[in-house]
């Protein structure tokens, strides 16, 4: 069993905008690339060119269809990675202390040299956010790019997680969710940011901005239709209107 810190100095995390995510997987592959080459063991791939390819990913995008009672069906793209929970069950369940939550910034990490690959943490995580690397036999998870965000070898503007830097739609935001004045906290307040599965009691740091309401235009037709009041019913009448309108220009 591993202890969680009472509190952390900061709560670094992601805010993911489900109204904007187009499901392009840019974050997934950028994460795969950075974390294959950097922190810890490479993210391996089994049967990469075979019948049932599978590999380790720290971030995946799922797609869900919603069928509202009225209006057309919708599709929501849902990127998911470790949410760096305040009450992270993956940490407390770890028998070797390999899983831990950093006091400085709240990032949940795996110390790979202490990990025995028992898989208890993946079992304890209600979000399915941890993946056992089959080649290395250690547990892999989102590090929030801990080797980027403070890295003095990177230009300052690049000191953010690879997924945030690459997201073409700007649907991913990084910052301190423990600071009510941070840009990410403001975004959460403005857009009604939500916890994922709050009933699990994990107190995730990452937040999701919900999709805005969709397919509302038919209800506005009473306001919009008057804009389309005909200037005349017949083509000839239209030309008369045209003459008058041109005179006013």
């Amino acid at each position: 069993m591993t202890d969680l810190p009472q509190q952390t100095q900061r709560q670094l995390g992601l805010v993911i905008d489900l109204d904007t995510c187009v499901g392009c997987h840019a974050c997934v592959v950028s994460c795969k690339g950075w974390n294959t080459e950097n922190y810890g063991a490479p993210l391996s791939d089994q049967q990469p060119y075979g019948a049932d390819p599978s590999g380790t990913f720290l971030n995946r995008v799922h797609s869900y269809e919603l069928t509202p009672e009225t209006g057309p069906a919708q599709l929501v793209h849902f990127p998911k990675s470790c949410l760096h929970c305040a009450d992270a069950p993956c940490v407390t369940v770890c028998p070797t202390g390999a899983s831990y939550k950093r006091v400085e910034d709240g990032i949940v990490l795996v110390n790979e040299s202490d990990c025995i690959g028992c898989g208890l943490c993946a079992w304890a995580c209600p979000y399915g956010a941890r993946e056992l690397d089959l080649a290395e036999g250690v547990m892999k998870k989102c590090t929030l790019c801990v080797d980027r965000i403070y890295n003095e070898n990177l230009p300052e503007r690049d000191r953010e997680p690879a997924c945030v830097r690459t997201c073409p739609a700007g649907a991913r935001h990084f910052g301190d969710l423990g600071d009510p004045d941070s840009a990410v906290s403001a975004l959460v307040a403005e857009r009604g940011g939500m916890d994922l599965m709050p009933e699990q009691g994990t107190r995730p740091v990452n937040k999701y901005l919900p999709p805005r309401p969709k397919d509302q235009i038919d209800e506005q037709v009473d306001i919009l239709a008057p804009l389309l009041t005909p200037v005349a019913e017949e083509p000839k009448g239209f030309l008369g209107w045209l003459d008058r309108a041109l005179d006013k220009l």
């Binding site: 592959v29 089994q46 599709l75 649907a171 389309l228 220009l249």
Partner: protein, 933 residues
């Protein structure tokens, strides 16, 4: 307990090399991190004008493409039968000798017997120059089966279309409307743009039978029935016009709406513009009531203009617009059912367009001066914008549908105004400023001009004296006169049929014509292997260049292996398909950030080598080669004096300069030092109204886009179309064959129109699209990307699933007029109820792409292409009618209709194609990729 000590500042890489991505056609800037001399990590270049630092899934997966086990390793000579994939590796000397021995005699006797077509080539300015100097008329790239309708309709209507030609004014637009399959071209800029709109709460409307990708985040989804977009757009136009919600000032000043048309049915020019003695179209000046040339200084063109002469009334184009679109045929109530929509929804969208364009107009306090010399204190914008590509293009009514979309934008005053659609230099450039097509082959002589161009009337068609097509693909003939990108999809079929003639050598580059890039794939494979009575192949010789072991490789006789995109020189040129943005022209290069570890060569350098061996003009002067390789060509070639492939760091009289200037031996070094690209900013006063803005015209002349200012009017009424139609009416020396006369009269309407292209015999539309993570990405063998999209079920709407008692994972027979496939299905609710679809090009032939033969792409993966014939079903007249747009020849992929029936469970999708032998070693069974420590 104590935390482990982490190194929070580990070294990132030894070096960053900046070049241009080639994982798709978007051409973003990338930072390639190098460690121990190897590619370690790829990210977006923040300074680059296209992607500004972001990078899509394809771009980040470039490392897997660069190291793919399917990379070809050396030139290959076929030793087994065509299609088998049996090859032996040969030396470059032997390969080039062989190519030379095939190409030299053809050039000396009949250069048209070489057909050279390139696929997703990004060096068309160079490859076409090579083909032009070889002397064959048979050259084009893949636009004919991609989006030529969009490009051509845009050029003829307003001097450019979307993507490389123009984009929404993302900074100002308030309503963005996206049509058709769109998880594609302009990949990152559209995502960035949608992100900007979402961040400020602007409205996005998606018009697409399938609600995936961008349509999933659209605030309003219009799940239209395929092929009816044009009808829907014309109905929006009907509503707006009827309500007077059009930009009268804009139409009068910048379009040909006020131009007078010859109204005399007896005149040969009936329906063409009335012209003055200088040949200039005329308008009525509202200030004086007199006739004036369209560009006369100080005039106020009268939209309502008309004159009566000798008992005949000549009225303005605006009269025709009113007459045509006010018709109740376009009322929402008349079209809604056919479009799969409701009248309410059409009206609501028209109302929202009107509200946004006119009640929420935006004003920028930026003075500018127009081509008539009038100074304007402000720039007034209609903040609605549009984007569309292949979705509305790939129908046999696609050209007119694209025209309709442009008409809609222009009626709203939303092109080249703030918040609307903005051109990207060197566009705007109208059809008449482009070259015309050239196709007369003469042994040992270059073609007289570029292959591809924009006919202005029947006299510009590429027909021989006896009326026969000069090109193998029948581009620029009466079957499809405005085929500005050629018809690559007809080359193999026509060459096999000997219609209009036979060829000797087919040379292809980056074009998977034996698989996903062909309609009617199975038959194309047979055409490539078919023999005559002597046992000789009907298409005698095939040369193919590709970097990877694709399906097409198996059908070639000689393979010239290309490099990966990180091992080569390339130039993304303003002479070609540029990467400009609306606020700045731009060009870019690729350069070898790593050297190949195989015996492969960049295809463009191989073409230079072949040109030198063949003594091609343009490449060899006085017996001496002008260029060593492609890099040398990029640096030193001049298309005309002072204008070369790259516009940056040229040599001026007093030092380095941009635009026009002499070659500079250090030019590529300067590009590399600058991150692989160069931008050429447009002055503030020239940012909008580009076709009419004197400051922009001056900028364009300085950059070498034109030699003198070329203002023009948007062509709502298309005179080139009217000239073809007039010929169809029996007027003029150039007449269509009788069997095409009616088609020309009906389809070449000078105002945009809509006609039905869907057959009633089959009930369900069938579409394909590429996943965002794979669009334009060469092959799906990428180890990371295939884990995202390794399967492609046929997605059926809920209703069709229920009707056929199907559940996810079941199998169905899918039958078209042309054939049947048997494939796995899955349900999708967010789908037009008359439409099924699948991801395109996930299905692979067994043995290709260095995949295991039991890979899902080769077992359950499938192509819809088998169901789509390149010809329409026979009409009983003995003619081969191409399944293409009758105006441009664009392949009508999306006109496909099918029938679905439940099938028993299967192991493998049908048709089950046999395996090709792989010319590369078996792939690894595990990847633990890490080049650093």
């Amino acid at each position: 307990m104590t935390q482990p000590q982490l190194d929070l500042s580990p070294p990132v890489s030894d070096e960053v090399r900046k070049t241009t991505c080639y994982m798709c056609a978007c051409r973003c800037g990338i930072n390639v991190h190098m460690t121990s001399g190897k590619v370690a990590y790829i990210e977006g270049n923040r300074d680059h004008p296209v992607n500004k630092g972001v990078l899509c899934a394809k771009g980040s997966a470039g490392i897997m493409q660069h190291n793919a086990p399917s990379r070809l390793r050396a030139p290959l000579k076929r030793v087994g039968p065509r299609g088998s994939g049996e090859f032996e590796e040969i030396s470059w000397d032997e390969a080039l000798d062989m190519a030379e021995s095939w190409l030299r005699p053809l050039r000396e006797s009949a250069p048209e017997k070489l057909a050279f077509f390139t696929g997703r080539d990004q060096s068309q300015s160079f490859t076409s120059f090579w083909a032009q100097n070889y002397g064959t008329p048979n050259y084009a790239a893949h636009g004919g089966f991609c989006s030529v309708n969009m490009a051509t309709a845009g050029i003829y209507t307003m001097g450019g279309a979307f993507w490389e030609f123009g984009s929404p004014d993302w900074e100002h637009t308030k309503l963005f409307m996206l049509f058709g399959v769109a998880e594609d071209h302009d990949s990152n800029p559209i995502k960035m743009g949608i992100g900007k709109l979402k961040a400020r709460g602007a409205t996005v409307i998606g018009v697409n039978p399938i609600r995936s990708g961008y349509n999933a985040v659209a605030d309003e989804w219009v799940g239209i029935t395929p092929g009816t977009d044009g009808l829907f757009i014309l109905s929006l136009i009907h509503c707006l016009l009827k309500a007077g919600k059009i930009d009268l000032d804009y139409l009068a000043r910048y379009t040909n709406a006020p131009v007078l048309l010859d109204g005399d049915p007896k005149s040969p020019d009936y329906g063409l513009a009335l012209r003055d003695e200088d040949g200039k179209p005329q308008v009525v000046d509202r200030a004086t009531g007199k006739l004036a040339a369209w560009d006369a200084p100080g005039i106020k063109p009268d939209l309502r203009g008309h004159i009566r002469r000798a008992g005949v009334t000549h009225a303005s184009v605006m009269h025709k617009i009113a007459e045509t679109y006010l018709s109740d045929d376009y009322a929402p109530e008349a079209v809604a059912t056919r479009c799969g929509l409701t009248p309410t929804r059409i009206r609501a969208i028209a109302g929202l367009l009107a509200k946004t364009a006119f009640d929420e107009a935006i004003v920028i306090d930026q003075p500018w001066t127009d081509f008539r010399g009038e100074r304007h204190e402000q720039m007034i914008g209609r903040p609605v914008s549009f984007h569309a590509m292949r979705g509305i293009s790939a129908h046999a009514n696609g050209f007119q549908t694209c025209r309709a979309l442009h008409l809609l934008q222009i009626l709203l005053g939303a092109v080249e105004t703030p918040g609307g659609m903005r051109f990207k230099p060197p566009y705007p450039k109208p059809a008449h400023a482009h070259p015309k097509p050239h196709a007369k082959a003469t042994p040992m002589s270059p073609l007289e001009g570029p292959h591809l161009g924009f006919p202005m009337g029947p006299e510009d068609l590429c027909l021989s004296d006896n009326g026969q097509p000069q090109r193998i693909d029948k581009a620029f003939t009466w079957e499809n006169p405005l085929s500005a990108h050629g018809l690559m999809h007809m080359v193999i079929s026509n060459a096999h049929a000997g219609d209009p003639y036979t060829i000797d050598t087919l040379m292809l580059y980056m074009a998977n014509m034996a698989w996903n890039s062909s309609m009617n794939t199975r038959a194309v494979m047979e055409m490539l292997t078919d023999t005559d009575q002597n046992g000789d192949y009907i298409i005698p010789r095939i040369i193919y260049s590709d970097a990877y072991s694709s399906e097409m490789v198996a059908y070639a006789d000689l393979i010239l292996p290309d490099t990966t995109y990180l091992e080569r020189h390339d130039c993304i040129s303003l002479l070609d398909r540029p990467i400009s943005e609306p606020e700045a022209a731009a060009d870019a290069i690729r350069w070898p950030v790593v050297e190949p570890d195989r015996d492969v060569r960049g295809f463009q350098s191989v073409l230079v080598d072949l040109a030198n061996r063949l003594d091609l003009p343009g490449f060899v002067k006085d017996g001496q080669p002008l260029y060593r390789d492609y890099a040398d060509y990029i640096t030193n070639h001049q298309r005309k004096p002072g204008i070369g492939p790259l516009a940056g760091w040229r040599m001026g009289e007093t030092g380095l300069t941009d635009g026009r200037g002499a070659p500079n031996e250090a030019q590529l070094d300067s590009y590399i030092a600058n991150g692989g690209f160069k931008t050429f900013p447009i002055p503030e006063a020239a940012q909008y109204y580009k076709p009419w803005n004197s400051a922009y015209q001056d900028y364009a002349v300085g950059m070498g886009f034109y030699d003198s200012p070329q203002p023009y009017l948007f062509q709502l009424w298309s005179e080139p179309l009217r000239r073809f139609q007039r010929a169809g009416e029996g007027i003029g020396p150039h007449q269509p064959p009788e069997y095409l006369r009616q088609q020309v009269v009906e389809k070449f309407t000078p105002l945009p129109t809509w006609y039905d292209t869907a057959s009633d015999d089959f009930p369900t539309h069938a579409l394909t699209q590429r996943p965002m993570a794979m669009y334009h990405s060469w092959g799906s063998q990428n180890a990371w990307l295939r884990q995202l999209h390794g399967h492609n079920p046929l997605y059926l709407p809920t209703k069709l699933m229920r009707q056929n008692d199907l559940k996810d994972g079941d199998w169905a027979h899918v039958t078209s007029p042309h054939g049947r496939i048997t494939v796995p299905v899955a349900e999708m609710a967010a789908l037009n109820e008359h439409t099924v679809w699948t991801w395109n090009a996930i299905g692979k032939r067994k043995g290709a792409w260095a995949l295991d033969t039991d890979a899902p792409e080769a077992t359950k993966g499938f192509l819809l292409n088998h169901l789509i014939h390149e010809l329409l079903p026979p009409k009983g007249d003995g003619l081969r009618w191409s399944n293409s747009d009758p105006i441009t020849g664009q392949a009508a992929w999306f006109d496909l209709k099918v029938r679905i029936e439940k099938a028993p469970p299967q192991e493998i999708s049908k048709p089950d194609t046999d395996a090709q032998a792989s010319p590369v070693p078996a792939p690894p069974t595990e990847l633990r990729w890490k080049v650093g420590k």
